[in-house]
């Protein structure tokens, strides 16, 4: 299990209703389902991942977050989780607004392009950074919209989205991953 799953799961209140958008093979859902709340379901685009979720006994809906979030009514979940997929959407702005419509709160994680190793990689090597959280080359990366923790916080502030931005400069330099709880 990925390290951040524990951190994400701890942000979810017990017995709340949760939607995991882009739930992948269901590892995070499974952890939350077993430890925090069993009122959880996932939305996943990949058929092989859908089968992996079904094999774990999880409720999963095969679908595309960019198109299928609109079928859920306003505030129908206590938490909507988007773990490391925001940067892969064609229209992340629309996805964020849909997350905040469907969920009372949204938990969003992003790979931080402002992490010091990423910065040094670009500064000294002059090539697109490759790290543990950004393992792909520029020509095969699924990431279309990379941002830094600071970019994301600035965006939320601009859009009047509530976000925790304590120790921003420090986090922007030293965190590989940004984990945020946002709400309207």
């Amino acid at each position: 299990m990925k390290k951040e799953f524990n951190t994400i799961a701890n942000l979810v209140e017990k017995k709340s209703k949760v939607l995991d958008v882009g739930c992948g093979d269901g590892e995070l859902m499974k952890y939350i389902n077993e430890n925090i709340t069993n009122d959880i379901r996932g939305l996943e685009i990949s058929k092989s991942n859908v089968q992996k979720c079904v094999a774990k006994g999880l409720t999963v809906i095969e679908g595309d977050a960019e198109k299928d979030l609109k079928q859920f009514p306003k505030s129908s979940f206590d938490y909507v989780i988007l773990s490391q997929t925001l940067q892969a959407f064609l229209d992340p702005e629309n996805v964020i607004s849909e997350l905040l419509r469907v969920g009372k709160k949204a938990i969003v994680t992003i790979p931080n392009f402002g992490y010091w190793k990423v910065r040094l990689h670009l500064l000294f090597r002059g090539t697109m950074p490759i790290t543990k959280d950004l393992p792909n080359e520029w020509y095969n990366t699924p990431n279309l919209h990379m941002c830094t923790i600071k970019d994301f916080v600035n965006y939320c502030n601009k859009k009047n989205i509530k976000i925790n931005s304590k120790n921003l400069s420090y986090k922007n330099l030293f965190s590989q991953l940004g984990i945020f709880v946002i709400e309207k």
């Binding site: 069993n38 379901r41 058929k47 859908v50 089968q51 079904v54 094999a55 006994g57 409720t59 999963v60 809906i61 095969e62 679908g63 079928q71 859920f72 009514p73 129908s76």
Partner: protein, 377 residues
Amino acid sequence: MNDIEKVKKLIIDKPLKLDCGQTISNFPLAYETYGKLNDKKDNAILAFHALTGDQFASGVNPITNKEGWWNYLIGPDKAIDTKKYFVICANVIGGCMGSYGPSNINPKTNKNFGTEFPVITINDMVNAQYHLLEFFKIKKLFSVLGGSMGGMQVLQFISNFPDKSETAIPIACTYSHSAQNIALNELGRQSIMADHNWANGFYEDNNKSPAKGLAVARMAAHITYLSKKGLQEKFGRKLQERDDLKFGFDADFQIESYLRHQGSVFVDRFDANSYLYITRAMDYFDLSKQFDGNLSKAFEKTNTKFFIISFTSDWLYPTSENREIVIALNSIGKDVGFAEITSDKGHDSFLLDIPDFLNTIKNFLNTSYNKKNEKRI
């Protein structure tokens, strides 16, 4: 016909008011069961059959001596393990495997009903089958499932009896029969009616059967159950036991021979009038119309856990139509899972040995059953 008289039947004495306005009572509902109902009576699954199915879902059909139509799915150690679950399957009313249908005797005339049998609907079918719950003293089913017309029955059952099943699995179906669906069914019906032997539906009086018309109906329908790619891969332009074209209208191509065979074996096991009645029931099916055009309303009262399944190459009841049901459930916050299974086999996929499909059902049912029992502890 004598064999059919031997199948298990529940005689429903309570009057059933049909959608067409007529009331039927004291009518037979033929059924079969697999596995054992446990002491808690919480392991029962009601499976609904499709247009040409019957109650013999698993094992060997004693009338046709062929494998049950859902033998890949249901049986000991199969995806729906009958060592664990108790599966009930009934022949729909209007059918021809022992349930009340057009080949029954009309007490008013002492002849077969023929086309004097009342037109029935999907709603009538599930209302009749509901009596099986009372008969087995089952307060709540563990699951209802079915593909194609069976899936329509699943949707109607949950809508009619919102607290009577823990889970529901509609497969490769639709909530509203489309113009294309109706058109294809009409083609089959017209083919039967065009057969001189049909005699306005009273062919049994003449001891003749509209076998040719029914065979053509089956051939046309069979094409709709397969995909273009599946047909091309299996048959292509391969010739039937000949080296070259014969410049005639014999079955030169394997696909022709295959369809003729499908038609001819079908007429041995199916009644032409039942084909008319059941296709009509499908055409009349529009669950949203029963709720002022709002499909979500059909499921407002239920807490049943749904899992909906479609197939990539099914053009008869395509993924988009199955997804409409998912959307209707999600829009009112109901518990629903959905998977589109990859298959080149077209609509027929739900009857075939497709591991992802069988596993999806197995995993969904087993986890739901375990969860239900955890809750109780």
